[in-house]
């Protein structure tokens, strides 16, 4: 097991319903500091469950997850999650949602004000501070989710298909912004997606998962230089190669559904 890794998933399995449903089996992953690992896989391969285990929201049935060498058994400090369903609190305005993590952590008023100012501007929500989530589009709601996660200045960002519920154009925009953001504030990131394109554009490495049982079939290095321009990456021949390769890996699991 690599000792310098920021996150280690060590022989982790997760079974549900007294073992009758296997979410994933025997997964080993090492993620180094400030690395972006994208996990791509068909629906039902347990990738979201894996992320919840890494985030300490769900204990693995066997094996373990280590962050900075510490075993994870509840949500660890310094880890923030961005949810596919956004997970915004409907009774809180945009500012209060973004401030949520800081407030829970007992941050000072000044710090909260400073962070709010910074991140609300960063995700482009200036002018919407006092809106409630129901008054925002899906894309804007996820900006709030992103700002909320970033506001606690986490070392690790866990992204659970964050852009799956927004429309295609907004999705591309958010991907570009995430790349810019990563240039500015490098985080260790695990990014779950079922879009091969998204995984290649964003990741340093891409873990390809298969289903029944969920497992990591292959880990590919992406190696495009940063800062990245998605359009330029898509024009590279290596992009097409990777894309075809991952698709061939995924095809059997997808066809089975």
């Amino acid at each position: 097991m690599a000792n310098g890794s920021k996150i280690v998933v060590d022989h982790a399995s997760k079974l549900f319903l007294e073992g009758s449903v296997v979410a994933f089996r025997n997964i080993d992953l090492q993620i180094s500091n400030r690395e972006v690992l994208c996990v791509v896989g068909p629906s039902g391969c347990g990738k979201t469950t894996l992320l919840r285990c890494i985030g300490g929201l769900l204990p693995p049935s066997s094996g373990q997850v280590l962050i900075d060498g510490q075993k994870v058994d509840s949500a660890p400090r310094g880890v923030a999650i961005v949810f596919q369903h956004f997970g915004l609190l409907p009774w809180k305005s945009v500012v209060d949602n973004v401030a949520f993590g800081l407030k829970i952590a007992g941050a000072s008023r000044d710090l909260i004000a400073e962070r709010l100012d910074h991140y609300i501007r960063l995700v482009g929500l200036t002018g919407f501070e006092n809106h409630y989530p129901y008054q925002l589009s899906g894309g804007m709601q996820q900006r709030v989710g992103l700002a909320r996660a970033l506001a606690i200045d986490p070392e690790i960002l866990l992204m659970d298909e964050p852009f799956a519920s927004v429309d295609a154009q907004t999705r591309e925009l958010l991907q570009e912004e995430l790349l810019q953001l990563h240039e500015r504030e490098r985080k260790t990131m695990i990014f779950i997606t079922h879009s091969i394109d998204e995984a290649i554009i964003l990741g340093d490495r891409v873990a390809v998962m298969g289903s029944r049982p969920g497992r990591v079939k292959e880990i590919l290095s992406v190696n495009f230089p940063r800062p990245r321009d998605p359009a330029a990456v898509r024009a590279e021949s290596r992009y097409t190669e990777l894309r075809n390769h991952i698709w061939e890996e995924l095809r059997p699991s997808v066809v089975m559904q």
């Binding site: 919840r52 985030g55 929201l57 509840s74 949500a75 400090r77 310094g78 880890v79 923030a80 999650i81 949810f83 369903h85 997970g87 609190l89 409907p90 009774w91 809180k92 949520f100 993590g101 800081l102 829970i104 952590a105 941050a107 710090l111 400073e114 962070r115 100012d117 910074h118 991140y119 501007r121 960063l122 995700v123 482009g124 929500l125 200036t126 002018g127 919407f128 409630y132 989530p133 129901y134 008054q135 804007m140 606690i152 200045d153 986490p154 070392e155 925009l173 570009e176 912004e177 810019q180 500015r184 504030e185």
Partner: protein, 291 residues
């Protein structure tokens, strides 16, 4: 997690995509939607007024052809109402009943919400009490009124106990349900951000339960009015129940309808008041796309 950020990083932050222009457009759209809403409300009020006029006219016409002991008509009720309001008679008896209603409803709200929350939080209490709550809620409350009279006598204590009995259970059950039905995804968000149990309740569970509690209160208001009149009739005969039974016994049907109509107005007013408070404390419950 380090909670510090350098000046330089803050200065670097420029919005990659700004929404200010959109904000102005949204504002305009919201105003337009409000104008549409206003037109709707006006139309609804107009329809309600027309409907009221038609029904009252029909009642007036038919009522005048029926023996006044058996039935009455709007203008007769109206003039009786004017007399009863002017003499202070209506308010005198109504206030007696209102004290009972508000005391019973108030106590039921406090204890009902408290018990609902305790049952939701401590499963032992839930398992221990659930059967009784369900059983007591299933028994028509009116069947228990004689028991309350036995225990509390005929005076105001007994009346408040009756209203309490009628209103307590819907509040308990709805509060309990509200907590139980909190979106698990949101409690997970709370755990992801390392909420303590107390923080989880304050920031997530209680706000999520508010709509259910309000529903409980709405049910309780309806049942509370029933309890109030029953208490007036089945214990010492006072208040609005007294007015009804007295005018019935002397065949003054027109005057008898005054307290009855008052009860209807009271129900409408209290429910409207609750809706108003609800809009104030829980604006997210009135999402335009959900209405």
């Amino acid at each position: 997690m380090s909670l510090s950020r350098t000046e330089e990083q803050s200065a670097n932050a420029t919005a990659p995509f700004a929404y200010q222009e959109l904000a102005a457009e949204q504002q305009a759209a919201r105003e337009k939607a409000r104008a549409v809403q206003r037109r709707w409300t006006t139309a609804q009020i107009a329809i309600q007024i027309i409907s009221l006029l038609v029904v009252l006219s029909a009642w007036e016409y038919l009522g005048r052809h029926i023996n006044p002991v058996l039935f009455t008509y709007p203008t007769a009720v109206g003039s009786a109402a004017v007399k009863m309001i002017a003499s202070g008679e209506l308010w005198k008896y109504l206030s007696q009943s209102l004290i009972v209603l508000f005391a019973g409803l108030g106590l039921a709200t406090i204890f009902g919400i408290a018990l609902g929350l305790i049952m939701a939080r401590f499963w032992v209490v839930d398992v221990a009490l659930d059967t009784y709550i369900t059983a007591l809620y299933s028994i028509p409350s009116v069947a228990l009124v004689p028991v309350l009279v036995l225990w509390f006598g005929f005076e105001i204590t007994a009346k408040i106990a009756v209203v309490f009995l009628f209103t307590f259970f819907p509040i308990v059950i709805n509060t309990h349900q509200g907590v139980k039905n909190v979106d698990a995804r949101l409690t997970e968000v709370g755990r992801a951000f390392r909420c303590s149990e107390r923080q989880l309740w304050i920031h997530i569970v209680l706000p999520a339960a508010v709509p259910y509690i309000v529903t409980g209160l709405r049910l309780a208001i309806g049942r509370g009015l029933i309890g109030m009149v029953l208490a007036d009739l089945y214990t010492a005969i006072t208040g609005i129940g007294y007015l009804i039974s007295r005018y019935a016994s002397i065949y003054r049907t027109d005057a008898m309808f005054v307290p009855i109509a008052t009860l209807g107005l009271l129900g409408i007013t209290l429910t409207g008041l609750l809706r108003f408070v609800e809009k104030r404390v829980a604006p997210w419950m009135h999402q335009p796309d959900q209405e």
